[in-house]
């Protein structure tokens, strides 16, 4: 638990960090970014909260079974999208040309168009859930394991 200035600034900065992380995840197929990069930015907000508020207050809100549930669902989404195009090959991009994320840009410099790239934005979301929940679970478990005991060790 750090001083009052640090805690107030952490309270103000956390929504900005979370919004930026979500922007990097969702725009992975238009500009730089993607699942892994945005997931790391999103999990750094959890690190900020752990350092500013101490692990005793944070561990009541981030429970380990919920975090592992989110990680598992992210991995299942990623693998399920790989199996979805199994009629042709494994990992086939089957949404190109269809109404869901299906614009095909011509070769060369293009305008910003978020409805492109087929199955890639959905894979970005799956990988981002996996990375966010994984990194947060590692940090919370290590913070719990290095607490100081109070009752005479």
């Amino acid at each position: 638990m750090m001083s009052k200035v640090v805690r107030s600034v952490a309270r103000l900065a956390t929504p900005a960090v979370l919004t930026f992380g979500l922007y990097v995840i969702m725009h992975g197929h238009v500009t730089s970014g993607g699942g892994f990069q945005g997931g790391a930015v999103f999990a750094s907000a959890a690190a900020l909260l752990l350092v500013a508020f101490g692990s005793e207050r944070v561990k009541e809100h981030m429970k380990i079974p919920a975090l592992t549930g989110i990680a598992v669902s992210g991995a299942v989404i990623f693998i399920g999208l790989g199996f979805a195009g199994l009629a042709t090959t494994f990992f086939y991009n089957l949404f190109v040309g269809s109404p869901v994320f299906g614009h095909v840009p011509p070769f060369g410099p293009a305008h910003e168009d978020i409805w492109t790239a087929g199955v890639i934005p959905l894979m970005n979301i799956g990988v981002a859930l996996n990375v966010v929940a994984g990194l947060t679970a590692i940090m919370v478990v290590m913070a719990i394991a290095s607490e100081n005991k109070r009752d005479g060790e």
């Binding site: 892994f36 840009p105 410099p109 990375v131 290590m142």
Partner: protein, 117 residues
Amino acid sequence: MSTIITNAPFIAVAALACVGIYIMLSQRNLIKIVMGITIFEAAVNLFLVSLGYRNDGIAPIFTNATGIHMVLPVPQAMTLTSIVIGVATTAMMLTLIVLIYRHTGETDAKKSRRVKG
């Protein structure tokens, strides 16, 4: 002499790798050894990225691009994978250090060698 100026990223990779190997060999605290391993992994990632540069190339993104002479995208994808695997390895090593400290009470690499029962 002009080879040194042209190949400057590769010389930086060699210097970082030497620093990493020196830390791994000469330190006795377990956490400092993990820091040396992390520095060595950073040198390897820098080498992978700097293999894919083309002279006067831009980023390989077609949105609002200014031309079509781009750097190679495949080494960047390989480096992404390598960074994530480095994070996983470092997390596992730090967990083992916490367990060694709980079991023997030491973080010195020489004194924590006997793990009894």
